[in-house]
Symmetry: D2
Subunit: 269 residues, 4 copies
């Protein structure tokens, strides 16, 4: 199965402005890339690639004053299989966690583990450690939070999502990540493309999706509390502690985002 | 049954400082007062009484610079019966609410109805309207919030209590009040004396208690989500929208509260 | 000078829904009303008037399922004079405050006096008590907060406005009110019509305005930290502790607000 | 000059509990260590060292049930010179920042850059880029925040510190770091020992200190908004995005911290 994936960002800048982009298909999917997702800037500007502390492929651009269009249109192979379901496996005790996973136990901008710890243990303390516990967290979050993209707010944190009971996919991910960390399960935030193929679109197409990975029994496992069912056509872009680490575009100066489109279309036949 | 009730507040003020006190036994208990709870100030200062917008008996004092001790020691009759349990009665629709109850549907300092509305309907939308719904709210709050007076924080709001899952009696009351208002049930905050008689003290004696009243089917009914069982020896002092309306003492200037004691002791034999 | 003032609210309700409206011209302007601002509902429904605890003229409506249009179109006389500027007058000490003003010193939903008290004294402790202090607060708020109606958020509180440095007229009012109360100056929230006459419109016409009144030296004085210059064509509708007390329309059930228009047009010649 | 530095932590654990410690003198000071600061556990337990993502020397311990005392007592050489003052040097534009500094521009748990960005530009937009801008930030924070260790709260964030105007050294650091990041200046949080030598102790001895480093003109420079004057006897332990990355001790289970002492004493002649 193949997917045509891409995005188009159109900005207007009053003055030359540095930008950091985190919009590349993740290196773990490099072998699947048929037509590369190289960002194209109009007018053309130098694009410098680098890797951030989480291993994501990032780009720096110096946007000139005026209008800037950044876009790509790639083709990516995909197994066509739904997301794998995590199964019970090895040990899950804190003392068995590899050192590199420990940073994903800590609080971060949108994941206030210090605030939600009591609540997490109250809600999930009696669940079975391992994948069942993470699934219980996803089930709770999926049912507790009402999807409402009209009420989206870029500054909404996990504790706010829990209280307000409303959010978009990034809020579902942040709340579930926070509960996992409170229960001593390393959890990291993921962004990427997600196809609507085979299911009715959960909401107007045209945004990146957010989900997360939890470390259980010796490896990272994917969970998607927004959809909470296995999906097909999921193509990872970047991972981090939360959305602040992997913002699609970080602009260092005033700007107007005039248009933003994303597509993840199955290529038929 | 009789209770000896009283308090002692000891302040030090660097300069003359106005104070508002809301520490009188409520007028609804006037017939029960055997020895009056007149506040006594040392050194003696003028104490001026007035009624606030909620009908509470308040006092204004101009504290001189230096040390001020305010205390009382009263005797109050009490039925000795436990709190009445609210039973289903008349209509509970919003359109049947008397106008004077409507203010107790609105948000207030520690009761963010706007933030918790989705969550309230998600948690309690399927409960039976009337006293059963308020009891469901109290049961939830009682179980969700872990009592911890070491973690008390005067600025903690209902949305914070819900997220943090910890609090003291005022936090239990604020969270339950907020959920009631979200469900269109008028709810007002109460403070007063509460005896430990007949039950082990829930925590070190020596503070006023907080509970609330909900308007159901034509009258106000008492609920205490902190204890969540009928208690005896409950003597109302004041009612308001939340704790900001009925602070024991509001001081208009810098001060040091050196000591604060409260007692509600059954007078034996 | 005469102003044509009115509004149009269009809702769709999935089920019969109670509504409280606080959209009448304030009784203090009764003598100025040439054509009354009686709300008209389409389809016609019973409208019941009452006064809330702050003396505001409110209405209760039981909206039927389906579409409801509520509108009015009034004519109101106005002096045509700009807002009066508060001048130094009588005493301003807390101990001289009338009892009925004391409730406007307390914290409320959007005015967290407990959180902002240190900051208020740090910013305004050296200003001259009286109108100069309130004006200093308005100047600070006017300069600190960038007007941005695209970033409006109905749940934003004074402490959030202070941190975020952005808001709309209600946020300016809440922040200034909170600072006043922290400085022991009673302050109450006001909503109403405000004309653009004679000045360029500060932003797209079509919303009610918010300002506040502070009690100084024996009477209430008007301040408008959003505009921070005297304006003409200001017609009070309601007063309260903050926006939660005087929401234009409080709806007790799900609904969709399809359209909301407000006008305050000078009637020429 | 030499300092005797050390700490003593005494815990009681109801069950075996993993702990992560970040209490070692930083590797950058390795050459100054005369008597090593090896943590000693009583009863003796295995202590495993590792480096976190920020290069800090950390330790993992599996605490047995019961009482655990962890302590050290080291001797560290120090120049005896006060903190260097940052001077203007190379370029400070975002496009000149090395990639490894970019993570220190992002929001983190206690540093809500998204919330405070408008305020930062409003306060510091007219200051001179470079060290003068960071010093202006430190001056503002030093004056705006009143030190009050009685009001310490482990969950207080930069936006809360800004609103509340009170805090302890970590709050000063978080607020200044957040303002720096908002102004596109990479800033990282530091903890360590700080001597009272030569100055009256700013508050009761016995806690680690917090400060920060800002990246200006090609290198990291130390700033201490709590003290805001050069100090002597500052010995770095760890760096991170904020306090959540470098908590002294992270315990994965219930526990009681019975005692916590820290010392940084000049060894006389």
């Amino acid at each position: 199965m193949q997917f045509r994936t891409g995005y188009e960002l159109v900005y207007t800048f009053p003055q030359p402005t540095p930008i950091i982009l985190v919009v590349n298909v993740h290196e773990s999917r490099a072998a699947d890339i048929v037509v590369p997702d190289t960002p194209i800037a109009e007018p053309p500007v130098a694009i410098t690639g680098y890797r951030d502390a989480f291993g994501n492929r990032c780009q720096r651009i110096m946007a000139p004053a005026g209008r800037l269009r950044i876009h790509t249109d790639a083709v990516v192979n995909d197994s066509g299989f739904p997301d794998a379901v995590a199964l019970p496996s090895g040990p899950v005790a804190v003392e068995d966690l590899p050192e590199e996973t420990l940073v994903f136990l800590l609080g971060s901008r949108y994941c206030e583990t210090d605030l939600l710890s009591n609540t997490a243990w109250q809600l999930f303390g009696n669940t079975t450690p391992g994948p069942a516990r993470v699934q219980a967290i996803c089930d709770f979050v999926h049912n507790h939070v009402a999807f409402n993209y009209l009420a989206a707010r870029a500054t909404r944190s996990a504790a706010q999502t829990f209280a307000e009971g409303t959010g978009v996919c990034r809020d579902y991910a942040h709340l579930a990540i926070t509960f996992c960390r409170c229960m001593n399960i390393p959890a990291r935030y993921c962004t990427g493309y997600l196809s609507d193929a085979g299911t009715p679109p959960p909401y107007p197409a045209g945004d990146f999706a957010a989900w997360f990975e939890a470390w259980i029994g010796g490896s990272w496992h994917l969970f998607d509390p927004r959809n909470n069912v296995p999906r097909i056509g999921r193509i990872l872009m970047a991972r981090g502690r939360d959305a602040s680490d992997v913002a699609i575009a970080t602009t260092f100066g005033p700007n107007m985002l005039e248009s933003f489109k994303v597509w993840t279309d199955e290529i038929s036949g």
